[in-house]
Subunit: 284 residues, 4 copies
């Protein structure tokens, strides 16, 4: 059984749904999941399909070619097609905080995540024992002002060598360069420890404490060149009160960060996220 | 422009999605919304479509006939088709509590609800002034042990005379009879003031207080013959603590009840709810 | 039975709790509620007490005098003492939106709010029928650029004449002047329709839609001279998705606004809020 | 500096607060935290205090004696006094599920938990590597119908030898015997994977799926002899929909279980929980 996931967006037009479902049926595909969204402001049509092909000798590549030639070009579609047999490869970037790392590796171990983790990169050596205990290669690539370019080249080399599909910044405390962002557009997931767009930048829990908010949050988003301004994938919140110190907010925040980042990883891996106009469409 | 909403469920089978979308395209319909769900345990396929027809002389009735003959019969579908031009008619049953009544009428007035309210029925006269201030006819039908059958007949007469499509029990404190339930299957919406299935029956806030729960809830559901056991449409929750008295729980619960009941009314009215096997599929 | 509520804040120091409780005991008071908080950063002590006095001829005024002379001066306390027998008087300012007005008046009617509403002020006449149906005097005071000062004087006159204790802006769409704010410091409650500090100012739902947030919020706060920057009393949030239009956000937001504003009114009325350093301490 | 935490409950009576604070002041204690609650139904007074003593040669044991003699006996108080210098000792019981174990050990490592973990007990050997990687002794004590009594004796021996103060069942899938419960009354914390009192007993996610609830929950509670009926410490909830399979509910539930169990452990460890009448008072 061959199963593929198709993501499409294009200008909305009459009969677009029937046209697509027809095309797939003609190619011998049985649609097992269909969801769509129309952005009425921009007049953009978004669709996600899962389709099974029981035809002998089915090839995802040949299907892609046909899709491009007979459908996508005509309707000026942006599209992606994935074979569900292939697990995406995720690189984990960490620094010194261990809570998101433990959380993701725990989920990975339990089979909750449909992906591979070829390696972990860190600018510090502190979390190596955790990587070791989960038997995942750990590369220590220190980053200083002087070695930033060199460090990034080492990162890129590893990413390419292992054919990494997307990157997760699990509280990696370094700014990602334009070069890396351009190479992995909407493929670098960050967890920001505030309810964006409130408290952009450094030390958001300190700012939240100072402002006296009654709810704190965490936000997972794709990294773009503007700091903390990329498309939001998921957000979570928790109630706080005047009794909470900054340390309490940080501790409560850790729970939010773990869950919100894990949700983003799962949505991305299951091809549930489309990005348009710096916003996400999240299919169910 | 004619616009219809189609709800279908049937046994899942190959090509069911393409078959349906094709049929609609052939009849000149442009699908503007499609969502589907498969219950893998029961192997049941559910679908909701919205389709526009710009063909001259389009008739929903003729389309229904064609749908029945050429599609539904063949695939043994259960289906419903609604013209979006026609607003459903809702009868409101209340007793002495006014919070859900105020809330629904406030939303109705602000244009938030896509429905008509031909009348309000109550077994008490207390809330008549509210009905008056919103200019909605109010029928006082007292219910005692001796007059229960007679009262119900009066209710049925009003429901039929006004061609009511569905009934909302906005804290109507009477048990609904089998006769009425059978006449309006999955068309009577109740708000129960607990997080079902916890605290079925009378005085759930008292039970919640006694058990010392840290979260209370409210549940909107379709009324079935078994008390508080019908298909759940929506639920809401709120945190409570040892500092809350039973009166506090009741006050907090009122906010939950209002929102959870209003959500159910909106979902029902927008044809977003399908029922199967005493559970709901809620389309987005 | 005489019952008073005491709110105190001062520099933290040894034995402050025992000193206060002792003083009250000496005066014949039985403390039935005590809660305290220390802001460790600023070294400020906050306390809220409820005390009953069964002594004959108890006078709140005489107690206040003794409290000031023998306790407050010595410890440089800021304090407020309220007799629980006296209900605070709230002025409601509204504009054209009715949802918060309906909500507050509904709660008022049901006995949920421990306050009096001597009148409603609006810059438009639209909501007068609602005020009428609840039998509350309604003053239409139009506000234009040219009449702003005159309108405010009329407002002040009414506020003084009725000995108003605090003002609630129930989606009153006008900027409050410095003069009024200074006259009612931390006594004007506003509901802002965003999760502050995100989306300060006008049209926050539009901004939230544009940013693509996955959670929206509402914030009740005391009005200070800086727009939407006053001490936060309560916040609420609700999940949203790409399927929600701006209108959907506005409708969902209405439910948040109602609850978050009502919470603030209840906390303020029950003397549960203390303000320090532009933040609130909210006692339970 | 000596710091103690005092927990008291007794029949409510006049001047109880002033009497207690006076007593502590007389003994040279500076109260730095005070919170109290009165159960109006049962007329029971609850209090939690933290007090610092800078007197030379302060002894918690001598203070306890004085407290008992001069205060507790007179007012028929139930009381507990803890030196904050002493970390409680927690025994972890696990089975095959690793998520709560990873979560608690991660928090333990990060310094979030104010306790010691002398050992982990499991009826299976599966989680030993995790215990090893955190350098915590792991005892494999298999439990079968025939060896139940013997296994329990081994458990008790370990608990006593290590002077364990409380036990956490981190998804330990065995019924705890009356003997153990009586030895550790309100000192055995369980995490139940449902929103109690809904779905008591085995396989709650299956029951939740079958009932079609829209919100699932988790509950941490003290173990009593009646299954899943002990005093509730904390509860958490998460929204679900018809799209979630039982496996999805289980995965979502894991996140709830981790947080709700960790909250209970922190509340218990920080002496924030009092139990009365099968309910908890949770101080802030």
């Amino acid at each position: 059984m061959n199963k593929i996931t198709i993501l499409i967006h294009c200008k909305d037009r009459r009969n677009i749904i029937a046209t697509i479902t027809n095309f797939i049926a003609e190619k011998g595909g049985n649609i097992v999941y269909i969801d769509q969204h129309v952005d009425r402001e921009q007049n953009i049509f978004f669709m996600r399909l899962e389709s099974e092909f029981i035809v002998d000798g089915f090839s995802t590549d040949i299907f892609k070619e046909a899709f491009e030639t007979h459908l996508a070009t005509k309707f000026e579609m942006k599209w992606r097609i994935y074979s569900t047999a292939i697990k995406p490869k995720m690189a984990l970037f960490v620094s010194k905080y261990d809570h998101c790392l433990y959380d993701l590796l725990g989920r990975y171990n339990s089979g909750e995540l449909n992906l591979e983790i070829p390696f972990i990169i860190s600018n510090h050596n502190d979390l190596k024992p955790i990587a070791d205990s989960f038997n995942i290669p750990f590369y220590h690539i220190p980053v200083t002002k002087d070695t930033k370019v060199e460090a990034e080249n080492k990162q890129l080399e590893l990413l390419e060598k292992h054919q990494i599909n997307f990157i997760v910044l699990a509280r990696y405390m370094q700014i990602i360069s334009e070069k890396l962002i351009k190479k992995y557009p909407n493929k670098i997931i960050n967890i920001h420890h505030s309810f964006l767009p409130a408290f952009v930048g450094a030390k958001p829990y300190h700012s939240a404490y100072k402002r006296g908010v009654k709810i704190i949050g965490a936000t997972s988003h794709y990294v773009t060149e503007e700091l903390d301004a990329g498309p939001i994938i998921d957000q979570g919140v928790a109630r706080v009160s005047h009794t909470h110190s900054i340390e309490d907010l940080i501790a409560k925040g850790r729970d939010l960060e773990k869950i919100v980042l894990a949700n983003a990883v799962k949505l991305h891996t299951n091809r549930k996220v489309m990005v348009f106009n710096n916003k996400t469409v999240i299919f169910s």
